[in-house]
């Protein structure tokens, strides 16, 4: 049985840990609210952008390089994680999904390259002995549209150069403060949106384009991609803070439990020592009497 002093020390240290986790929870909660507002504001725009593209893609015949499907020779997996830990399974979930995907896709004919957004993803890949093609650090926490632009620019450039023939993004989709879902989406080729209806070959109302179809597509496709990446960044940000909030909440609760059980142990030990002393005194008195 540990001595009284040791137990007291441990209670002290658990208490200070609890203070830290509690503070981190508050910070995460504040950041979470901000991140949540941003993603909720962006969603309608991203959805509308997608639906505009869907209706356009139905009528389009031109082979835009970003729409073109090439035989898959090299696939790029883009894992979107955070820069920091202490947020439960947030980063692990992403990497698990990424490793599974890489394993599934890698074959004699298909090569897989990985890139990571976020320090955690980069580190975890390194630990597994995988070389990242590209890694973007220090984005989480202060995401701006420029980050999305930079990432998209890199992807598009490499896609057009045929460095890879498909790009898959894995990120945490924000469902609610308690639920985040790992989501795997294909960024490129921009899915020439599955049009089941188009099999009917009903001449889907053809659009008038101004300035021209080509110009609209050259403009709209990269923009759409940027928005999708930006959305993923914000989704991930909100998810990360939500996950951290939950993790820190649990840690605080665990610390409470630990303090309770340590206090019990401490009291028991204290009682035992008092009883022992009493026994000694009584024993001494008895001995004197004899």
């Amino acid at each position: 049985m540990p001595g009284l002093k040791e137990i007291r020390k441990r209670i002290g240290s658990v208490k200070s840990t609890k203070q830290i986790t509690k503070a981190m929870k508050m910070v995460a909660a504040a950041k979470f609210r901000k991140a949540q507002t941003r993603i909720l504001e962006l969603r309608p725009y991203a959805d509308k952008m997608n639906s505009v593209l869907t209706s356009l893609a139905k009528t389009v015949e031109t082979g835009h390089p970003l729409l073109e499907i090439r035989p898959r020779k090299r696939i790029e997996v883009l894992a979107l994680t955070g820069d920091k830990g202490l947020c439960g399974a947030f980063n692990t979930n992403i990497m698990k999904a990424a490793f599974k995907l890489i394993k599934e896709m890698q074959s004699d004919t298909i090569d897989v390259s990985v890139s990571a957004i976020g320090k955690k993803g980069t580190d975890l890949l390194k630990r597994r002995g995988l070389v990242t093609r590209q890694s973007w650090l220090g984005i989480a926490g202060r995401i701006s549209y420029l980050n999305a632009k930079e990432i998209t620019g890199d992807i598009i450039e490499n896609y057009i150069n045929e460095t890879f023939d498909e790009v898959i993004l894995i990120y945490n989709e924000f469902k609610s403060a308690l639920v985040q879902k790992v989501s795997v989406v294909r960024l490129l080729p921009l899915a020439p949106v599955k049009t089941e209806e188009s099999e009917v070959q009903e001449p889907a109302a053809s659009f008038i384009y101004e300035p021209s179809q080509q110009a609209i597509f050259d403009n709209l496709l990269p923009k759409n991609l940027e928005i999708q990446v930006f959305r993923a960044l914000l989704e991930s940000q909100a998810s990360e803070e939500a996950a951290r909030m939950t993790a820190m909440e649990n840690a605080t609760k665990a610390a409470d439990d630990m303090i309770a059980s340590l206090t019990l142990q401490y009291n028991k030990a204290r009682q035992a020592s008092i009883t022992k002393e009493l026994m000694d005194i009584v024993g001494g008195v008895e001995a004197l009497k004899a």
């Binding site: 725009y45 505009v52 110009a215 609209i216």
Partner: protein, 136 residues
């Protein structure tokens, strides 16, 4: 809703407007265009400008910076980088932006000319739209 157009204006900062209107006029890169219910499908890039919507007998003005417009017979979707209804325009901020842009244009070395002129244009049109609101 017969003979009405559904107008949705969305920006990365949220939904600005979603209403049934009678008529919409906006500024495309190739010039201004007007849309009435039953318009043929049409898609265009937008330039910084004013969007006018008529609803019943009321006219409203909305500031729209560059983006896209998708028009279908019963619906108009505006995807803009930013958009503000005339009553939400911050005139003071726009005036400050004009001053800033003009100063930047005056210093001749190393000015991002395109950016400064775009900022100037945005601010000028914002003020123009805001003034319309006051005039009414």
């Amino acid at each position: 809703m017969e003979n009405k157009l559904r107008l949705d204006i969305v920006t990365p900062h949220g939904l600005v407007l979603s209403e049934d209107v009678d008529e919409v006029a906006a500024t495309g890169t190739e010039g201004e265009f007007g849309v009435l219910p039953g318009h043929v499908p049409f898609i265009t890039t937008l330039k910084i400008g004013m969007l006018v919507l008529k609803k019943d007998s009321k006219t409203e003005y909305v500031f729209v910076s560059s983006g896209y417009a998708e028009v279908s017979p019963d619906k108009v979707v505006i995807l803009a980088d930013s958009a503000e209804r005339s009553e939400d325009i911050d005139v003071e901020r726009a005036k400050a932006a004009i001053k800033r842009a003009e100063e930047r244009l005056r210093q001749e070395e190393k000015v991002d000319f395109a950016r400064a002129t775009a900022a100037l244009e945005r601010a000028a049109i914002r003020i123009q739209i805001a003034e319309r609101r006051v005039a009414r």
